[in-house]
């Protein structure tokens, strides 16, 4: 099952938002297989719901067309190709060397029920949770300020009446 998901994710191009939605959905299925039901639900709601809708709205709003191909710098090619090769060799060597001692994860191994997650979230991680709420608030205000037109902010609303 993981291999099928692996293949599906491997062959997708990253150049469109729809394939990203496919990746999100398959990841949610993967979380469900691992037994993390809460994380799967949050993945679907937050990523496939909210963030992808934001992306699609922005794409349509700016009517983004085909991207223009441009040549990268020559130095990047010279340095990058050997670097990628060395990195891939290292990773492959590590995987081959360690594959005999790999551990097994059974499907549904995690007791990811919302009750215990909520206990953990609101007892042990209470301070980070509150800090994230402040972060979200700041992000909302920043997004509104950044995305609104500058003249709309500068204009005094009392003079419009």
């Amino acid at each position: 099952m993981a291999g099928a998901v692996n293949l599906l994710v491997q062959s997708h191009p990253i150049n469109s938002a729809l394939s990203l939605i496919v990746v999100m959905a398959s990841l949610a299925a993967e979380y469900l297989l691992l037994g993390a039901e809460f994380v799967a639900a949050v993945q679907v709601i937050v990523y496939a719901g909210a963030i992808m809708v934001l992306f699609l709205i922005t794409i349509m709003l700016l009517n983004a067309g085909k991207e223009v191909r441009s040549k990268g710098s020559h130095v990047a090619t010279l340095l990058g190709v050997p670097g990628v090769t060395i990195g891939a060799l290292l990773v492959g060597w590590t995987l081959v060397g360690r594959s005999s001692t790999t551990q097994l994860v059974s499907i549904g191994a995690l007791w990811g029920d919302p009750k215990s997650i909520a206990r953990l979230l609101f007892h042990d991680f209470l301070l980070p949770f509150e800090v994230t709420s402040v972060l979200i608030l700041i992000a909302i205000m920043g997004a509104v300020v950044l995305a609104s037109r500058p003249e709309a902010i500068a204009r005094d609303p009392r003079k419009d009446q």
Partner: protein, 101 residues
């Protein structure tokens, strides 16, 4: 049915590598942003896989926090993209090379 932990880690690494490649290769600013999201997803997958492996629930809470931060980041980032598009009339990162107008 049991699946080796390394499969999940390899899948997570592939997702992260796709994100890095997209970040480096793509020239559309929205696509670059989407590849950042892909990298975050790869990291989330390894978090959940390790949480399942160690039978620790806090990994899932970290995934939750990562998702929250990703949502905030994407909201602010897309607002910045819209602002850049208003002033520059382009989405190509090669043409956005000045901080001032």
């Amino acid at each position: 049915m049991e699946i080796p932990l390394s499969y999940y880690l390899v899948l997570s690494g592939i997702l992260f590598t796709c994100g890095v490649l997209g970040f480096l290769i793509k020239r559309n600013i929205i696509t670059i942003f989407m590849s950042i999201e892909l990298m975050l997803n790869g990291v989330n997958l390894s978090f959940v896989a390790y949480a399942a492996h160690w039978h620790a629930l806090s990994g899932q809470v970290f995934v939750f926090f990562v998702m929250v931060v990703a949502a905030a980041e994407s909201a602010v980032g897309l607002a910045i993209i819209i602002a850049v598009y208003r002033t520059r009339e382009t989405l190509n990162v090669d043409q956005v090379n000045l901080l001032k107008l």
